[in-house]
C-alpha cells in the first residue's frame, strides 16, 4: 500500500491545517509518512500545495502520481488532474469551484454547507474535507477524533464537539457517496512509536540537544522555521533568541555570545548568508566557535523565495576572504540533520571554527516518520576553559601556539586572566601584529595543524545498494530519499547503488575509506543534483580527480520526485556506455 494525497488551493485556505492533521492521523495509524510542501511567496491567493504520501513500508520522497486530490479551488483541478493515478479520485466542493465535474473520478462534497450545518461556520470546511478523505480511504475515525481533540483543546469544549461533528459528517458523506473509491488501507497496529519531524525542526532540536544558548537571525524563508522552533523552546531551556536588524548583525551577535562563553548559532538562506560572509571570516581569525545553518532556496539574488535548489554548495565552501578551515555538512534526512547539527556544535567548539549546515527548502519543509532519535549517540563535551579550571592556569594566552593548533578557549570574567582576540592578525595573546614570522605561524596553526585533525573526524559517504554496482548514483544533501527509493525500485533489474555524501568539507579522506574504488569500478556513475551546473561533480573532481560519467540536474525550483527521477535514471542506464 502506498498512497499519495495532494491538497491544493490558495495561500490562506488552510492547506497546512488539513495536511498537518492528516499527517498526524496516518502516523497514529502506524503508517510511514513523507510530506512536502510547495508554496508561493505570498500570504493570500496564488497556488500552493501540500502533498502527503503514506505507506506500510518506509518511504522517503514524494511521488508524482496522486491518489486523492483535495481541490480547495478550481485551479488545483486544472493543474493536477493529469497526475491522477489509475484509481485516483478528486474530492472538491462544486459550490466553491463553481463548476461541476461529472466523470466518475470526481467526488463532489459540499464542504462549506456541511461545515455550516454541523459547525455553524464555513470555517470548518477543512475539518469536513479531512473527514471526507478518511472516508474515501475507508479508514476509521479514531485517530482523527483524537487529533482534533488535541488540536482544538485550547479553544474549548464547544469548538471541539462542533469539529467532531463536522468531521463525522464529512466522513459519512464520503463513505455513502464515493461509490468509485477503491482504496484499501489495511488496519495496522503501530509497529513502533515513530516521530514525525521536518528538516528545520531537526536542526532546531539538534541545537537544543547540543547546548545552544544563543540564536540570532534575521527572518528569511526557508530558514525561519529553525528560529521559530528554537524561540518556542527558549524560555524552557534557557536560550536567548534575538531577531537582529540584519544578517551582518546576526552573525556578529552570535560571535559575541560565543566569545562570552556559550554555544551560539545563526541561520539564514543564501542571500542572508551572503551578508554574513565577513563575519564568517571574523569567526575564523578570532577562532570563535560558531554554527551557521544555510537553508538554500533558488538564487541568484531573491530568486524563487519559497522554492528549492542545491546551488549554494560551492558558495558556502569557498566564501570568505582569506584562507581558513571550516566544516560543511549537508544532511539528507531529518535524522542526519539532527546528528550533524550536534556534530557541527562539537567540531565548532573543539576546533574553534565555523561549522556550516547546508540544507534546503525541500528538506526544511518535508516531514518524515523516523524512529525516535537516540540521544545516547549525541556528544556533549564542554571544550571551554571556565571556572576553577581556568583560575588554576598560571599564564593564559587566547591564541597560544600548541602542538595541535588548538588554543585554550577561556570564558572572560571567570578569572583574572584576560581573553583578548582581534580581527587583525594577532600574536598568541591576541594583540595585533604585522610581523611576518608570527603571521606565518598563525596561518600554520589555524589551517594546517587544525585542518589535518578535522579531516579525521569526517565520515565517508553512505553507500546503499549493490556491493559491486555497475551503476552508482552519486548525490548529496536533500536528494538522499528520492535517490534511495530509485535504487530500491531498480535493484531487482540491475546492479545499482547510491553513494550519498552528508559531510562534504573537509572532503572525506579516501585514504581512510576508499569509496573511490566503488566509483572507479562502476560502468556508469551519475551525479544527481538539484542545480544547473553540477557543483558537487565539480567538487568531487577537484578533491579526488574523479569525474562522473553522467549527470542529472533539476533546476526549475522543484525537488526531484520518484517517477521522474526513475525515468531519467532508466533512460541513462539503458544506454550503452561508450
Amino acid at each position: 500500500m502506498d498512497y499519495t494525497i495532494k491538497i491544493g488551493g490558495e495561500a490562506g485556505q488552510g492547506l497546512q491545517t488539513i495536511g498537518g492533521i492528516l499527517a498526524k492521523v496516518f502516523v497514529k495509524h502506524g503508517f510511514f509518512l513523507f510530506s512536502h510542501q510547495e508554496y508561493m511567496s505570498r500570504i493570500r491567493g496564488g497556488h500552493n500545495f501540500y502533498q502527503l504520501r503514506f505507506s506500510d513500508s518506509p518511504i522517503m520522497c514524494s511521488k508524482a502520481e496522486v491518489d486523492i486530490l483535495v481541490a480547495l479551488n478550481l485551479e488545483t483541478i486544472e493543474l493536477h488532474k493529469a497526475k491522477l493515478s489509475r484509481y485516483g479520485m478528486v474530492v472538491y466542493d462544486s459550490k466553491v469551484t463553481k463548476k461541476r465535474f461529472h466523470s466518475e473520478e470526481f467526488l463532489d462534497v459540499p464542504f462549506k454547507e456541511i461545515a455550516l450545518r454541523e459547525g455553524g461556520t464555513p470555517l470548518m470546511e477543512n475539518t469536513v474535507a479531512t473527514g471526507a478523505v478518511l472516508g474515501m480511504l475507508g479508514m476509521d475515525m479514531r485517530s482523527y477524533e483524537e487529533t482534533l481533540k488535541e488540536v482544538f483543546k485550547k479553544k474549548g469544549d464547544e469548538i471541539v464537539s462542533k469539529n467532531l461533528s463536522a468531521a463525522k459528517a464529512g466522513y459519512e458523506y464520503a463513505v455513502t457517496n464515493c461509490l468509485k473509491c477503491r482504496f484499501t488501507v489495511p488496519r495496522r497496529e503501530p509497529p513502533s512509536r515513530m516521530i514525525l519531524i521536518n528538516g528545520n525542526e531537526a536542526i532546531g532540536l539538534g541545537a537544543l540537544f547540543s547546548g545552544c544558548r544563543f540564536y540570532s537571525a534575521y527572518p528569511m524563508t526557508p530558514s525561519t522555521g529553525i528560529m521559530n522552533y528554537i524561540a518556542s523552546r527558549a524560555a524552557e531551556y534557557g536560550i536567548v533568541v534575538e531577531q537582529a536588524e540584519d544578517e551582518i548583525s546576526a552573525i556578529n551577535m552570535a560571535l559575541g555570545a560565543s566569545f562570552a562563553g556559550v554555544r551560539a548559532m545563526t541561520g539564514s538562506s543564501g542571500g542572508g548568508f551572503a551578508l554574513m560572509v565577513e563575519g564568517l571570516s571574523l569567526g575564523a581569525i578570532t577562532e570563535t566557535p560558531i554554527v551557521i545553518a544555510e537553508v538554500q532556496r533558488p538564487g541568484p539574488a531573491t530568486g524563487l523565495p519559497t522554492r528549492t535548489e542545491q546551488a549554494d554548495l560551492l558558495f558556502v565552501l569557498y566564501t570568505g576572504h582569506g584562507e581558513f578551515p571550516r566544516v560543511v555538512f549537508v544532511p539528507g534526512t531529518p535524522e542526519q540533520a539532527f546528528y550533524l547539527t550536534n556534530k557541527a556544535f562539537n567540531l565548532a567548539e573543539k576546533y574553534q571554527i565555523p561549522a556550516i549546515l547546508l540544507s534546503d527548502q525541500y528538506l526544511a519543509d518535508s516531514q518524515w516518520t523516523m524512529m525516535p532519535f537516540d540521544t545516547e549517540r549525541l556528544k556533549y563535551k564542554d571544550y571551554r576553559l571556565r571556572g576553577k579550571r581556568l583560575k588554576n592556569v598560571d599564564i593564559y594566552k587566547r591564541h597560544l601556539f600548541t602542538d595541535n593548533g588548538v588554543s585554550p578557549l577561556a570564558v572572560p570574567g571567570d578569572s583574572e586572566h584576560l581573553v583578548v582576540t582581534d580581527s587583525d592578525e594577532h600574536d598568541e595573546e591576541g594583540h595585533m601584529i604585522e610581523d611576518a614570522e608570527t603571521r606565518a605561524k598563525m596561518v600554520n596553526k589555524r589551517i594546517f595543524k587544525k585542518l589535518a585533525l578535522i579531516r579525521e573526524e569526517i565520515s565517508p559517504p553512505t553507500v546503499y545498494g549493490d556491493k559491486t554496482p555497475e551503476t552508482v548514483l552519486i548525490c548529496w544533501g536533500s536528494t538522499y530519499g528520492v535517490v534511495k527509493e530509485v535504487v530500491d525500485e531498480l535493484s531487482a533489474e540491475q546492479s545499482i547503488a547510491m553513494m550519498h555524501f552528508s559531510e562534504v568539507y573537509p572532503f572525506p579522506d579516501t585514504a581512510a575509506n576508499d569509496y573511490l574504488q566503488i566509483l572507479k569500478k562502476a560502468k556508469r556513475t551519475i551525479c544527481i543534483e538539484n542545480n544547473a551546473t553540477g557543483q558537487f561533480a565539480y567538487l568531487l573532481k577537484a578533491e579526488t580527480g574523479f569525474i562522473p560519467s553522467d549527470k542529472i540536474n533539476r533546476y526549475d525550483g522543484r525537488p526531484f520526485v520518484l517517477e521522474e527521477l526513475l525515468e531519467a535514471v532508466k533512460s541513462r542506464t539503458a544506454q550503452e556506455v561508450t
Binding site: F209, R213, F214, N252, T421
Partner: protein
C-alpha cells in the same frame, strides 16, 4: 601595583599628538576610579585608529570588524549581564559602516557604553570624509568638497529616546572623565560622542577650532527634558555643547529577557536530560 599600572597595555601606534592619547589616559583613570578590575570589563572595538584602543590597555578584548562592534557587544551582554561592556569605535566605524546597528542598539537598550572617537574624518584610511565631516572639507576622495550634510549623532540618539546621550571633548579630560564614569555607571545604552582632533588629516576641526567653541552645560542643566535636550543637540557652529545632554532611565533588554532572571547564561549549566521529552513530543 597602582591601579593605573594594572591597566597598562601595549605601546600605542597613533600619531604623536593625537587626541586618542588623552581619551585612552582618561579611560584608564576612569576605570581605576570606579574600581573596575580588568577582567570584569570587555572592550569591543571596530576598525580604525580608535578601534585599536583596547590593545593599549588591559581588559578582555574583542577587536572585531569595521562597523560591527555593537552587535558583538550585544551578544556578550545578552549571555553575560555581569560583564561590563564598552564599545569603542570611530565616527566612520559607528556612524557610517555600522549606522544601522547604532539605531537598533539604542532601541534594544542593552547596557553597553558606546564611546565614539569622533574626529570627523577617516583616520586610518588616510583622510577621507566621514559621516560627521563638515561640508567644506575637500579630500582626495571628495575633490569637490563633501556634498552630504553632516550627521548629528546626538540629535539622532535623542530622537530614538536613547537612555543616555552625552558629548565630550578630548581636550577637556577632566570633564571627559566625569562623562565616561557616568556613562559606564548608567544602566542602559549610553552614547558618548567624543570630539577628538585628528592632527594629521583634519585641518579644519583642530584643537584651536574646538577650544573656541566648546562649552560645558551649566550646573543645574536638566537632562531629562527631551525637547530641551533636542534643542541643545541642534547647537553646532559657534557654540558646541558638551555634557550629559539627555538621560532617561528605563528597563534594559537584559532585564526583560525571562531566562536571564536565573543568572547569566554563561553560568547556567546545560542539562540534556531535561530536553529528552522533546523527542517524545514528536510522536503524534
Amino acid at each position: 601595583m597602582t591601579e593605573l599600572d594594572e591597566y597598562r597595555g601595549r605601546k600605542p601606534a597613533w600619531c604623536p599628538g593625537c587626541g586618542n592619547f588623552a581619551i585612552l589616559k582618561t579611560l584608564k583613570e576612569t576605570l581605576g576610579e570606579i574600581q573596575l578590575r580588568p577582567h570584569q570589563l570587555t572592550i569591543v572595538s571596530g576598525i580604525g585608529q580608535a578601534g585599536k584602543l583596547p590593545h593599549y590597555l588591559r581588559c578582555n578584548t574583542f577587536n572585531g570588524l569595521h562597523g560591527r562592534a555593537l552587535p558583538v557587544a550585544t551578544g556578550i551582554r545578552l549571555v553575560n549581564p555581569e560583564m561590563v561592556v564598552i564599545a569603542v569605535t570611530g565616527d566612520g566605524d559607528c556612524y557610517g559602516e555600522g549606522g544601522n546597528h547604532l539605531i537598533h542598539a539604542i532601541r534594544r537598550n542593552v547596557n553597553i557604553s558606546l564611546f565614539v572617537h569622533n574626529n570627523q574624518i577617516y583616520g586610518l584610511t588616510k583622510g577621507q570624509a566621514s559621516p560627521t565631516s563638515v561640508e567644506s572639507l575637500t579630500t582626495k576622495t571628495q575633490p569637490f568638497g563633501v556634498l552630504s550634510e553632516p550627521l548629528n549623532p546626538i540629535a539622532l540618539a535623542i530622537a530614538l529616546d536613547c537612555s543616555f546621550v552625552a558629548r565630550g571633548y578630548a581636550g577637556d579630560t577632566e570633564y571627559l572623565k566625569y562623562l565616561m564614569k557616568e556613562a559606564v555607571l548608567h544602566k542602559g545604552f549610553a552614547l558618548l560622542d567624543i570630539l577628538q582632533p585628528c592632527i594629521t588629516f583634519n585641518k579644519i576641526n583642530t584643537y584651536q577650532w574646538y577650544s573656541e567653541r566648546i562649552y560645558r552645560l551649566e550646573e543645574g542643566y536638566n537632562p531629562s527634558d527631551r525637547i530641551n535636550a533636542f534643542q541643545i543637540a541642534l547647537q553646532w557652529g559657534d557654540k558646541i555643547p558638551t555634557g550629559i545632554i539627555y538621560k532617561r532611565d528605563k528597563p534594559t533588554m537584559e532585564e526583560k529577557i525571562p531566562v536571564l532572571t536565573e543568572g547569566p547564561l554563561v553560568r547556567q549549566p546545560f542539562r540534556m536530560d531535561k530536553i529528552v521529552r522533546e523527542i517524545e513530543n514528536l510522536i503524534p
